[in-house]
Symmetry: D2
Subunit: 336 residues, 4 copies
């Protein structure tokens, strides 16, 4: 971290700042230029608060050199993390397809779709019991009842399950859930992240729709700092000015995240575009760019789906897609 | 709401859709053009799910005519809502200044700042006990202990208090809080909004940093639909490509929201720009554009502030600002 | 196009509006609902100005049903356009790699890179003689002199050339250029687009960094309306809040554009991310998502490049990339 | 400027880089930390290409300390620039209202509006002869003919005129124009900016709808570097995710620009929101935030306007607005 001092900064204040920094165990490197005087901080600056430094009267600006996360950082942990969910591996060359309906609507729907996606070759089953909806008048999920249906589908098919949590209070309901999903609107619900740091289950952390990759990694760090290092990152489209699609899939997030972290990175092409015909090309692009998995919405009757039907695949088109996914992951040398 | 049907849509499916819509109590208006056939829906469409309609095989697109919120809608409630907090009125021509430190750091700091902002003329006192921070390694707030200090400052000064909630579990701690704040990262924490709908206290709802004004109003609707109609909206800057400031204050949100809703609208100039020297011009702009209040960070020693010191005013500069605020609200005919 | 009339709109004004619309040759379809009265416009509305209608006193809002472009529209021209540049085909299943330095710096550099990219298998050669640079103090390109060097490289290698135009005044210099590029900052330089509509050469039109896909197609329409239908669209990354990369590649633009237009769509992975190590994964993603080509920066000495060296490949790494491009296009059944 | 070197960077390469930097007349300040080695550059770095440095093999990243513009920089020129247009002063405490129709449509319209805005107290007259329109099928302006009408209106009223240029080729037509406007889509049309640097007239430079404030200042620098230091900056709304308004007025741009440059800053509230009822509150906000002027669309018959009628004021409502502008500028101690 480098502090740029203000021109003509009060010398006593600068001295007292230097002492404070030394007291924090940091080494200092000083540099005086014609235009600016700098202080370089040497040592572990992860816990140094850049905002606090930036507020000081004598400091013009603060420049970070090192990323502000440790446990999620590839530097500290050069080998890719492989997360094992009941035998299904994600990361480090292993690719998984997570599939199922956006929301759980009935016992029949859930079981039917579960059987269908299993037959087509999905590795994990998804389904939402708690649904974050923009309008209070939209269907909010079957909640506990939905969770029971999902657990029955898990039992029937043997597929491990992924489902979204909206509040730490609901944690007891997630005991038999294999992967707990944090949705895009909760990526910075730090209270929830802290609780998930105490859980011994993989967490699928979706990027907030207007959050930077650094913020995503900081949210992963919240979970990891609590003791749970099994975090799967998920790119699901960001909010931009473009209006022809629901969100803009940030495909570059895959190689960029992989250069910065050892955690697996998957993609949700269904939510990214929000339109059925784009699911296939975006899935292919995700594999080509190096993703460790995809998460795809499948509904046995998309036209009757109580949520996000517009982007759901039918079981038939999902089975077609899976054939292509198998060939393409093989071509790009990922194991499925 | 208007449904644009696909060219050559299956007639049986269209007939069955029409029947379904009639069964929902809606009137239909049909229109066949050379390029498109339309169905206009007549009646209350607030609870019609536009996404579900858009997913239907026979539907090309869906166009909303009416806003999807009811209780927050100015149409339903043409007079401005005035919210009374222990005698301090917000909205309908009444202007309030909410001031205090970003985070509560000690008994001395809290009491001192409280006395200072009271003397300068602030109407409400703010202070954060629970702090949402991007990094798990940053100061997270004094939590319960901080809340006690805030309550003491309330007692000492008689100022009603505003403080942020991060989880519905903490609600019991908020019993003596006058206004509960929902932060930008929780604007779509629907679980929390639902709980706040059952509370009998004003809620200060901050706009998410990448949420549209319609989404802000839908989040207000969550609280109002639960029975609590005392919602204060707060514009606090949105996320854009501009990098010289922390956020971009959306000043147009004030007149736009006021054309759509009867709820009061306040502005947080401290978080919007994140830089001290911009607090005054943005406060003046907010008053000029018609805001019903501002929320300003004040710290007795901004350089030692454990959070957001960069944007905090000293008690002296806050007192100076208050003089201008009084003159300017008077000029723009707001009552303070 | 649908006009939503204001509640209680003056009847005489509405009648006069209807007459005006009929006089424009449009059929009208009227619909009166409890909440809104609508007028549907039947016929060719491409030239109807939605802004003008939206400004009328009696009109609440205007909803477009049909896209506002004709010649670029897939509806009017269902078969993919294949553009032939000196025997190199782009579009309709044909894939091309355009490669070369960002800016032309010397005769040696240009010839050397040209020979290298030819040997590696590039189909077209790029190089910038006129460079749009943010700072007036940065290298602005060798202009006429650079153009001569590029033409020599064309002669030496036989590769057709692509180069950027910054002003219609320079058109005479482009006589022997095979494809004229319009850069991202000029996508809405309508004066330039009009002039290019009169030229009989393919135009490579880059998307503005904050322009919607509809605006991109409208800019293509400017060129096509002038008589030049040989337009190649290029996605090169858009401006978002993300700061770890120069721009955010909008990979979804490929399938979305292909659903709306018959024009070929290529991708510039070098400018999109602005970082060397991301060129390969983004190129793979572009092929997988259905692009008709890519445009890649290659420099014989990226560290000495006078512009954008950070994202340039060396001839060696470009040759490696080309091997993968050949295999991958074959896998995705594109002809190269 | 600070260079952060890569860990384990080749020492010979680093030495050669240092020599190169010294050869450019820069002083170097070296600093070796546990995590990073830094080189601080001392001297005038305006012409040092940060991109070129960032591309070097041994360089991890480059951090700017000083702004990359000189002539526009407040540091170099602490007093506010006052621009005098035929006796009307802009900047340094002087406030001007520029008013007139978006596009010039007929002799009668132009003259009538000119008389009206003069009577209401506008200081300068605007009107567009060349119009940048998204669609090639929209009205493109009366061009030369329109320019004649504008000049006649200038003659009739004595008001200095402001009008937009779309190509340097048209410069001869602008001989009697008082202020030449560069539109938002041409802010980075560097060819045009260079030509305007040779002109001896004030240039009104509008911010590009997705350009940072630094880029705006760099575009001003293009004009100033050419010798023309009379540049007026104009904030006119930026492109964001918000859809209820055409653009988001960046009100913070005013104090931020004023902290960085001595050039005057005006605001275009008509284009910012694109809706008539928002012109007044945004004008008030602009004055309150410290703007040096506003630019407002007025049309004698907004419903018949061939462009942007939705946001135009009638002469009557403009006259009402002017009364408030006079009182408000007086309140905020600006001279009109």
């Amino acid at each position: 971290m480098i502090l740029v001092l203000k021109k003509g900064a009060d010398e006593n204040k600068v001295e007292s700042l230097k002492q404070q920094l030394k007291d924090m165990g940091l080494g200092l490197h000083l540099s005086d230029g014609a235009n600016a005087s700098l202080i370089g901080l040497i040592g572990d600056t992860t816990e140094v608060d850049a905002e606090w430094l930036g507020a000081l009267d004598v400091v013009e600006s603060v420049k970070r050199i090192k990323e502000p996360y440790k446990k999620a950082n590839k530097d500290m942990h050069p080998n890719d993390t492989v997360i094992d969910v009941a035998g299904r591996k994600i990361g480090g060359g292993h690719f998984q397809v997570i599939a199922g309906p956006c929301s759980i609507e009935s016992r029949e729907q859930m079981t039917e779709v579960a059987e269908d996606v299993k037959m087509a070759g999905a590795g994990l089953l998804r389904g939402g019991a708690f649904k974050p909806r923009t309008s209070p008048y939209s269907f909010q999920g079957l909640e506990n009842e939905g969770m029971q249906m999902l657990l029955e589908a898990k039992k029937a098919t043997g597929l491990p399950i992924v489902t979204e949590i909206m509040s730490a209070e609901h944690l007891p309901l997630f005991e038999d859930v294999d992967v707990i999903q944090v949705g895009t609107r909760n990526m910075q619900n730090f209270q929830l992240l802290k609780e998930l740091g105490k859980v011994d289950k993989p967490i699928l952390l979706k990027r907030g729709m207007a959050n930077t990759l650094e913020e995503l990694l900081m949210s992963a760090e919240y979970i990891m700092a609590g003791g749970n290092e099994k975090v799967i990152l998920c790119e699901r489209g960001i909010r931009t000015f473009e209006t022809s699609m629901r969100n803009t899939l940030d495909i570059s997030a895959i190689p960029m995240l992989k250069s910065k972290t050892h955690l697996p990175v998957i993609v949700d092409p269904s939510h990214a575009a929000g339109i059925r015909f784009m699911v296939e090309p975006l899935t292919m692009a995700a594999i080509a760019a190096g993703a460790d998995g995809v998460m795809i919405e499948v509904h046995n009757n998309p036209e009757k789906a109580l949520c996000d039907g517009k982007q759901s695949l039918t079981p038939e088109s999902f089975a077609e897609l899976m054939k292509k996914v198998r060939k393409t992951t093989e071509f790009f040398q990922k194991e499925m």
